[in-house]
C-alpha cells in the first residue's frame, strides 16, 4: 500500500489515497464515464430511430408532399373530405361508444373481482383478461359469427325462444355489431387497467368515513368517486385509442361496408391508389397520429395524477 503516497504525489488528478490504482486511472475513467453514460443506450436509440422514427417521420413528411416533391396541404385537406371525413367520424364514434361502454362494464367487472373473497375467481379473470384483450382479427370475427351470425349458436337458441335477432334487418356487420365485437377486447383491457386503482382503495378510508357518520353513498360521492375519476377517465382514453387504432378486427368484419380510417389506410396501402392522391394515405396516417397522440398524452397526464393519490 505504499504505492499510494507516490501515486497521489505524482498525479495531477483528484485521486483518492488508498487502493493500488495508478495515477492515470481517474483521468481515463472520466472520459470513459462520459462515453459510458450515453454509450450504453446508443444501440437502443439508434434502433428505435431506424425502425420506428424513420417510418413515422416518413409518414408525416409525405403527408405534406405532393407528387412532384413540393410542399402542400392538399393531402391533408382531402383527408377530411367526403368518404374520408365520414371515416374519421365513424372511427371516432366507434371509439367513443366502445370505450365508454367497455369502461363502464369493465369497471363493474373489475370492482366485482376486486372485492370478491375468492382468489381463484380473481386469477381466472386476470388470465382471461390478458388473453381476450389481445384477441382480435379473424379469430375474433369468426367467434362472433359462430355465436350471433346468421347461423350462429346463440341466434338459433334465441329463435327457440321466439327472438329473431335479424328481424329488423340488423346484421353483425353493422355499427352496433362492430361495437359488440370490439367490447370483447375493450372490457378486458379496462379490467386490466382499472384493477390496480380499485385495489388502491383502502379499507381504512371506508371505515374512517363510516365512523365519521358517512353512508356508503356519501363515501363514494366524496372519497372513492373523486379518487377513481382520474384513473377511470384515463382508462376511457386508453380504450379510445385502442379502438381507434384497431385494424385487424375491423378488416375481418366489415370488408368495406363501414368506413373507418384504419381500413381506408389499409386499402390505400393494398394498392387502391387514386392516381392524383397518392399521398392521401399518409395524410390519413398523420391524422391518426395526431388524434391518438392527443388521447395518449392526456392519458399519460391523468396516470401521473392518480398515481399520487392511490400510491400504496
Amino acid at each position: 500500500m505504499n504505492k499510494t503516497a507516490t501515486s497521489v504525489a505524482g498525479s495531477d488528478d483528484l485521486t483518492v489515497a488508498g487502493g493500488n490504482s495508478g495515477h492515470g486511472y481517474r483521468h481515463k475513467s472520466r472520459i470513459r464515464t462520459n462515453f459510458g453514460i450515453y454509450g450504453g443506450v446508443f444501440p437502443f436509440f439508434i434502433y428505435a430511430l431506424l425502425f420506428f422514427g424513420l417510418p413515422t417521420f416518413r409518414v408525416v413528411y409525405l403527408a405534406f408532399q405532393n407528387q412532384d416533391g413540393g410542399w402542400t396541404l392538399s393531402n391533408v385537406r382531402e383527408s377530411v373530405k367526403g368518404i374520408y371525413l365520414l371515416s374519421f367520424e365513424r372511427s371516432l364514434e366507434l371509439s367513443a361508444v366502445s370505450s365508454i361502454t367497455g369502461a363502464i362494464l369493465g369497471f363493474t367487472a373489475a370492482y366485482a373481482i376486486a372485492i370478491s373473497s375468492r382468489p381463484a375467481l380473481r386469477r381466472v379473470v386476470q388470465t382471461a383478461s390478458g388473453v381476450f384483450a389481445n384477441t382480435g382479427g379473424v379469430p375474433l370475427a369468426f367467434m362472433f359469427i359462430a355465436t350471433i351470425g346468421t347461423y350462429g349458436l346463440v341466434t338459433k337458441a334465441l329463435k327457440v325462444f321466439g327472438i329473431d335477432l335479424y328481424a329488423g334487418g340488423w346484421t353483425l356487420f353493422t355499427f352496433t355489431g362492430l361495437v359488440l365485437v370490439y367490447l370483447f377486447f375493450q372490457i378486458p383491457l379496462m379490467i386490466i387497467v382499472i384493477l390496480p386503482a380499485i385495489d388502491g382503495l383502502r379499507l381504512e378510508w371506508r371505515e374512517a368515513a363510516a365512523s365519521l357518520g358517512g353512508s356508503k353513498w356519501q363515501f363514494w360521492r366524496y372519497v372513492a368517486g373523486p379518487l377513481l375519476l382520474p384513473p377511470f377517465t384515463g382508462a376511457v382514453l386508453l380504450l379510445f385509442a385502442n379502438s381507434f387504432a384497431a385494424y385487424a378486427t375491423a378488416s375481418a368484419l366489415t370488408s368495406g361496408t363501414i368506413p373507418l380510417v384504419p381500413l381506408q389506410i389499409g386499402s390505400l396501402v393494398s394498392g387502391n391508389v387514386i392516381a392524383d392522391r397518392a399521398n392521401l394515405g399518409y395524410a390519413l396516417g398523420f391524422g391518426m397520429i395526431v388524434i391518438i397522440g392527443i388521447v395518449m398524452g392526456s392519458y399519460a397526464y391523468l396516470e401521473k395524477r392518480s398515481a399520487k393519490w392511490l400510491r400504496r
Binding site: 386476470q126 390478458g130 379473424v138 396501402v269
Partner: protein, 278 residues
C-alpha cells in the same frame, strides 16, 4: 391492438380483519358478473361447437387433426416461428443491456428511455406499416425478417416495463456496488447478481413478445407476408371450420402463454424484499 398487459396479483388480505364494512358481491353485482361472463364464454363455446360440427350436423374432433395437413401449414408455422425467435433475440439483445445500463449507470436517462419505449403506443401498426413501406429500401422489404425488426418496436412498451419493474423491484444498483466492493469481476456480477434477479422479467418479456408475434395481423397482412394470423384469414375464405379450429387453437395457445407469464411474474414478486415489521 397488441396490448399484452396483464393485471397485477393482489396482496393477501389481513387475517382476522373486521367484517362489517368489507364490501361483498351482492345479488345485483353477481348477476352483472354472470352476464359479462356469459358474453365472453358464448363466443368461445359457439366457435368450438362450430368447429367440431360436420356437414351432416354430427360432431367430431377430426378438424383439429386436419390442422397439420392444411395447405402451407409447414411454411407458415416455420416463418412464424422464425419471426418469433428473431423478435425475441433482438429484443433481449437490445432491451436487456439498455434497461440494465439505465438502472445501474445512467439513472437520469431512464425517463427518456421509458418515454421512447412507450412511443409505439401512439403510432398504430397500420400507420407504422405505411411508413415502413415508404421508407425501407426494396431489398430490406424483400425479407420477412423486417417484420421481426418492427415487432421488436411493437413489443417495446411491454418488454421495457417488464424488465424495468424487474430490475426496480430488487435494488440492483446496491447489489452491484456490494459485489464490486467485494471484488467481483463484471462477468460474475452480470451472471450471478444481475442475471438471476431479472430472469423472471426476461422470461416475462419473452412470453409477451411471442404472444404479440403470434397475434399480429395488421403489419404482416399489409406487407403481404403469410404468417400464422394472416394464414388463418386465408383459410377462412375457403374452409370455415378449419379456420375456426385454428382460431380456437390460437386462443388456447395465448392462454398458455399468459399462464406462463403470470407464473414468471409471481416468481419475480417473490424476490421482492419484504419491507415493514418483521
Amino acid at each position: 391492438m397488441a396490448t399484452a398487459i396483464t393485471a397485477p396479483p393482489k396482496k393477501a388480505p389481513k387475517s382476522g380483519r373486521s367484517m362489517v364494512l368489507v364490501p361483498k358481491i351482492g345479488p345485483g353485482l353477481g348477476f352483472g358478473l354472470f352476464v359479462v361472463g356469459f358474453y365472453f364464454l358464448m363466443p368461445v363455446i359457439s366457435a368450438f361447437e362450430f368447429s367440431i360440427r360436420d356437414i351432416n350436423d354430427t360432431y367430431s374432433l377430426g378438424v383439429y387433426g386436419r390442422i397439420t395437413s392444411a395447405p402451407d401449414f409447414g411454411t407458415v408455422m416455420w416463418l412464424t416461428a422464425r419471426l418469433a425467435i428473431t423478435t425475441v433475440l433482438i429484443t433481449i439483445l437490445i432491451m436487456v443491456p439498455t434497461v440494465t445500463f439505465v438502472h445501474l449507470k445512467a439513472k437520469k436517462l431512464r425517463r427518456l428511455v421509458e418515454f421512447v419505449s412507450l412511443l409505439p403506443l401512439v403510432i398504430p401498426p397500420v400507420v407504422l406499416v405505411l411508413g415502413v413501406l415508404a421508407s425501407m429500401p426494396t431489398s430490406v422489404k424483400g425479407s420477412p425478417m423486417l417484420l421481426a425488426f418492427e415487432y421488436v418496436m411493437l413489443a417495446m412498451p411491454y418488454t421495457f416495463r417488464a424488465l424495468d419493474s424487474g430490475l426496480g423491484a430488487v435494488d440492483v444498483g446496491t447489489l452491484v456496488d456490494a459485489a464490486r466492493g467485494l471484488g467481483a469481476p463484471w462477468r460474475m456480477v452480470f451472471f450471478r447478481i444481475i442475471g438471476p434477479n431479472i430472469q423472471s422479467a426476461i422470461l416475462g418479456s419473452i412470453f409477451l413478445t411471442v404472444a404479440l408475434v403470434l397475434g399480429e395481423y395488421t403489419m404482416a397482412s399489409l406487407m403481404l407476408w403469410e404468417t400464422f394470423p394472416t394464414w388463418i384469414a386465408t383459410i377462412g375464405q375457403s374452409e370455415a371450420s378449419l379456420a375456426v379450429a385454428l382460431s380456437i387453437f390460437s386462443l388456447g395457445f395465448a392462454w398458455i402463454l399468459l399462464l406462463a407469464l403470470s407464473a414468471a411474474e409471481r416468481r419475480q414478486k417473490g424476490k421482492k424484499p419484504s419491507g415493514g415489521e418483521a
